[in-house]
């Protein structure tokens, strides 16, 4: 089935990208915490170590490698460093090192990747050590100056005191001397229960500029002599440019150049972006759309439906007992088929990047969730070596997984290469952004459950059919062809483990990869797996004649952390007390990104089709909470993202292309549709889970289960827009 392979460009680009990382960049994670030679920041202030720069006026500059896109980890990571550093939080500021600087220093800042809800949880250990190491060195420097043992000195808010003599000094005064010291080999990190900066709901560090229009996003980059580019990629994924008639737009105001970008796209470069876009729309382009132009949502749905058949091959992700025998011998058999569509990330800021290419240098300014991946893309697209390239990261106008990809970076460099010496800002129109996403993968799921005579769940067969993200984006991560991430939320163990014990269980995936390029869409595979599993759990409870909460609880004895968050939402929403007249409840739980989450919703339904979401309660156990105010915002935001996808999202395919082109056909929730989310944090400690994504998984099933409670009707297909169900 040639038409159902992922675009070749994707995989080739990835392989080259990783090769660049593998051979040139990944020299190994080397985290030296300082050393004899003083490294200086751009303003001349000494680095105590890679994470901490202290200025003479006691300002503490904390370096942050992960990207900020609204999720708050810039502030959270700074809190963790500051906590161990024992500095004055009011004097903390942050800066991004560039990937080029990191590579030149043997990746001193570690991984830049900001996805998979990993921003804090996979760097907390070494950034805290960075803070603690700097503290030890700063105290040592003061002790050396006073000629007293460091053990007799204490520090609070960046002021070092020698108790016996009453002498005090500040970090700013000893930073120069501290930077020359050899860092300690070992540092002891604080017990989180002793935290005074971390663990608190402090205000974000990056808010003020966002209220005055001065925050710089990629779209706002201005460079001397810069020109602007608008681009059109072949509307059919995998298609190519056949020809374009440049003469038709020559002489249009502001137009400087028309360039082909790779095999598949054409860009117009002009003085302003509006001129470039206007000219691009007037430019006749002939496409070679290829066989993919025959693909539609209907052909994809048919192909996926075939994968639900047991006769088709499938990868097994989670298994125990003998599911088929148990179903055959059961008292009652329940079966349902669900599906989940493509979704666009629809970041508020469309994709863009600014590139400056000269014969011996290539620099890019952009919002990216992965500075190193963007850097590798610049190397590959420019053909220049690492020491001649760099990426300057700016604030992202939303990421949600989309800006972990580097397609827009490559395009900007490809255009800039054709205009050496001129900075080029490439900006996608919203229409380009909607139709050239890296979409949440499309899947269907057939579930068969079996109850014994006492209405106990004895077997569950969970058969997924559909697209693998890793197949297209990270084929090296496949395991003998299987995509292990496909089982997020229904896995046997690990950071996205199923919370139910079922004596006979089979979870499998028939992989089918349509040509529409998939990507990591906030929540990723947890989204559909949680809808399928949690809605079907409700169906099973109903078939068993049991309360959905009680039915789940009986299956969760071996998973106390899953159960604890479920209980927390049940209690908060008052599950055991009757809802007000006309109000109906639904509940759901899942584990993802190392965290346990649950959600419950109260809704009312008018005429079977007008839904009002009245109340949402959500609970999360991420192990540790670094900033409860920001975690609360991530939980609430996850509901907005998840319910937008449930009600309004969904990208359909016609003639090989995505049909939805803007927010008029791919809508998003507004303030009038969104109730307050009441969050309950139950951090149990001992592990570090993520918070940006897992809650999205419970948003849709909580509401869908409430919809069933209200109407007696099961909705097994997303979005609700296509079921004629809307917000009241």
């Amino acid at each position: 089935m040639n038409k159902h392979v992922s675009p070749k460009m994707n995989r080739r680009a990835f392989v080259i990208g990783t090769a660049a990382v593998g051979t040139g960049l990944a020299i190994g994670l080397d985290l030296p915490f300082g050393g004899p030679a003083v490294v200086r920041a751009a303003d001349g202030s000494p680095e105590v170590n890679a994470w901490v720069v202290i200025r003479p006026d006691d300002t503490v500059v904390i370096r942050i490698a992960r990207s900020e896109m609204g999720q708050g980890s810039l502030t959270g990571l700074a809190q963790l460093v500051a906590e161990e550093l024992e500095c004055d939080w009011t004097k903390v500021t942050t800066e991004y090192p560039t990937p080029g600087q990191s590579v030149a220093r043997k990746r001193v800042w570690g991984d830049f990747s900001t996805g998979g809800s990993r921003g804090i949880r996979t760097s907390q250990d070494y950034v805290r050590k960075g803070g603690a190491t700097a503290r030890v060195m700063l105290i040592q420097a003061a002790a050396d100056e006073w000629k007293v043992p460091a053990s007799e000195c204490t520090v609070a808010k960046g002021v070092i005191t020698h108790t016996a003599s009453g002498k005090t000094t500040t970090y700013g005064k000893v930073a120069e001397a501290a930077a020359k010291l050899t860092p300690p080999a070992e540092v002891k990190l604080k017990d989180p229960k002793d935290w005074t900066i971390a663990g608190k709901g402090l205000l974000r560090l990056d808010t003020a500029d966002k209220t005055t229009g001065t925050m710089v996003y990629g779209i706002d980059i201005k460079l001397p002599g810069m020109l602007n580019a608008a681009i059109k990629d072949c509307p059919v994924f995998g298609g190519k440019v056949k020809s374009f008639d440049e003469a038709k737009i020559t002489g249009m105001k502001g137009v400087r150049k028309v360039v082909k970008v790779g095999d598949s796209a054409v860009a117009v470069v002009a003085d302003t972006w509006w001129q470039a876009k206007t000219a691009l729309e007037a430019l006749p382009i002939v496409w070679d759309e290829g066989d993919n132009a025959k693909v539609s949502s209907e052909t994809i749905a048919k192909w996926l439906a075939e994968g639900l058949d047991d006769a088709q091959p499938a990868y097994v992700g989670n298994k125990n007992g003998d599911v088929k025998a148990a179903i055959a011998g059961a008292a009652k058999k329940i079966e349902a088929v669900y599906n989940y569509p493509y979704q666009n990330h629809a970041t508020m800021e469309p994709m863009n990047a600014t590139a400056l290419y000269t014969a011996d240098k290539c620099e890019v300014w952009c919002g990216t969730q992965n500075g190193e991946a963007a850097f590798a893309a610049v190397l590959e697209a420019s053909g220049l070596p690492a020491e001649k390239c760099d990426v300057h990261k700016v604030m992202l106008g939303g990421g949600f997984g989309r800006r972990g990809m580097t397609d827009y970076v490559r395009q900007a460099v490809a255009i800039a290469r054709q205009m050496p010496g001129t900075p080029i800002k490439l900006l996608w129109s919203r229409e380009e952004d909607m139709t050239h996403g890296r979409y949440h993968p499309i899947t269907q799921c057939k579930m068969t459950g079996a109850l014994d005579a006492d209405n106990n769940l004895v077997a569950l067969h969970y058969r997924l059919s559909g697209q693998s993200i890793l197949f297209s984006v990270r084929p090296d991560a496949l395991q003998n062809g299987m995509d292990p991430a496909a089982f997020q939320g229904v896995a046997q163990s690990g950071e996205a483990a199923l919370g139910y014990s079922v004596p006979n269980l089979l979870v499998e995936h028939s992989m089918r990869n349509p040509h529409v390029p998939p990507g990591f869409w906030r929540g990723v595979n947890v989204n559909h797996n949680a809808i399928y599993m949690e809605c079907f759990m409700d169906e099973l409870a109903h078939a068993a004649g049991q309360d959905p909460l009680e039915f789940r609880r009986k299956l969760m004895g071996k998973n106390p952390k899953h159960l604890a968050v479920l209980n927390a939402v049940a209690e908060k929403i008052g599950w055991t007390t009757p809802a007000p007249q006309g109000v109906y409840r639904g509940i759901a739980q899942v584990m993802g990104y190392g965290s346990y989450v649950a959600g419950a919703a109260e809704i009312s339904v008018t005429d079977g089709s007008k839904v009002k979401v009245l109340r949402i309660v959500a609970s999360t156990d991420p192990g540790y909470v670094v900033n409860p105010a920001q975690v609360e915002r991530q939980i609430a935001g996850s509901f907005v993202y998840g319910l937008s996808a449930l009600f309004y999202g969904g990208c359909t395919v016609k003639d090989g292309r995505i049909e939805q082109t803007n927010f008029d056909t791919f809508n998003s929730m507004r303030i009038n549709e969104m109730p307050k989310v009441e969050s309950v944090m139950v951090p149990s400690g001992g592990f570090w889970g993520g918070v940006g994504e897992p809650t999205i998984g419970v948003a849709a099933p909580a509401v869908l289960n409430a919809y069933f409670a209200a109407t007696g009707k099961r909705i097994r297909s997303v979005p609700l827009r296509d079921q004629n169900i809307s917000f009241a």
Binding site: T212, M348, M395, G397, R430, S668, M674, K676
Partner: protein, 149 residues
């Protein structure tokens, strides 16, 4: 050529009369606080005030904007003092990524100048901006905080 009055200053800009006000503001006047989100007046990221009325600048041509008093996010503060909406946004830590917030703040400022004590229903009706991060809860709380001050 067009003459636009933006934030109390007159700009003479070399633009076609049918150029959307948004792009004249961003590219010709160089004020990039006003954001592009959709270009079809759906999302509200480009909201400015035109004679005090919250207006989606992507849907207004330069020709239509001539002679009007235009205020962008950069012109909302007066002198060195931030507008009360900006102050509340900082105090309540409203923005996440912040990209939609210029438009959100301009929409809220216009609402409050018309209705200093808006009800939830007033907010629901007047604030129709898209925020993909989902800051609505903080937006609502901040509006009520301002109204009750």
């Amino acid at each position: 050529m067009a003459n636009l009055t933006i934030n109390g200053k007159t700009f003479t800009l070399d633009v076609e009369p049918d150029t959307p006000l948004l792009w004249a503001i961003r590219e010709n006047a160089g004020l990039t606080g006003t954001k592009y989100g959709c270009g079809i007046a759906q999302c509200g990221a480009c909201t400015v005030h035109m004679d005090g009325v919250a207006t989606r600048s992507c849907g207004v041509s330069v020709a239509e904007a001539e002679g009007k008093k235009i205020t962008t996010i950069e012109g909302l503060a007066s002198g060195g003092t931030l507008h009360k909406v900006q102050q509340a946004w900082i105090a309540k830590d409203v923005p996440q990524c912040g990209y939609c917030q210029s438009g959100m703040i301009m929409a809220v400022a216009a609402l409050l100048s018309e209705k200093p004590r808006p009800t939830d229903a007033d907010i629901d009706e007047a604030i129709t901006n898209i925020c993909r991060c989902g800051t609505f809860q903080q937006v609502r709380e901040a509006i009520h905080t301002i109204a009750s001050a």
